[in-house]
Symmetry: C2
Subunit: 135 residues, 2 copies
């Protein structure tokens, strides 16, 4: 494995979800309402986020196993092994979570989002607006 | 800026697009057909990708300026400055591109995708299937 560039956490998730085993596998299976708190350095980047906006939230799934290349989908040992690029497993070479969520509140330095499946303390890497072609 | 974990390139883009200035701003404005070639280490992760599948391709936009927090959208100096988290600018603290593309061919160690706006040589970080809730 050849190491590439660093990522920087621009914020973190505050959520009632704390146990990765109990966390839902996907947001549409029912995540939790969560706050995203931005680091002071990155507040300017977040200044135009608005309530009601649909965004892609990128996280760093810090508990993932980066050496995993194939998995039993949904942790079901009876399911045939699949290459991780054909799954949404957190275990993968670059454990970047892509979460499509709606912003439900905006406060100085933080936003609230609905149905996020990331556990408390998960580092946030980026927020992007959803494009028309992605709806 | 506190450095976080490394990302690793799992492959790279081969595309006729070479000039970032000439590249379309978004895939739905007409990108180019491109090959994604996986590094030998990561072939197993890609083994279940299939023609016709709609995927999120995550790239590392290696020419981006990571110190940029606000931009004039679409490089239009007349456009009011916006925080980058409310834009799809490549310039942002973690320049991770999220490209929603369709796989049009699968060969050993590589896949072909339609309408990708990333330039030739762009490192690839991840491939994920599009979820039903994201359609």
């Amino acid at each position: 494995m050849t190491a590439g560039p660093y990522v920087v956490p621009v914020g973190h998730v505050s959520s009632p979800l704390t146990d990765p085993g109990a966390a839902p596998k996907q947001g549409d299976e029912g995540g939790a309402d969560a706050w995203i708190t931005f680091g002071d350095t990155y507040r300017a980047a977040a200044r135009d986020l608005t309530t009601g906006a649909e965004v892609l939230l990128l996280t760093w799934l810090h508990r993932a196993d980066r050496d995993t290349l194939v998995v039993h989908p949904r942790d079901d040992p009876a399911a045939p092994l699949r290459g991780v690029f054909a799954t949404r497993s957190a275990d993968r070479p670059n454990p970047i979570g892509v979460h499509r969520v709606t912003i439900t509140a905006v406060e100085p330095g933080r936003i609230r989002v609905r149905d996020l499946e990331a556990v408390d303390g998960t580092p946030v890497l980026d927020v992007k607006p959803v494009l028309a072609g992605e709806r």
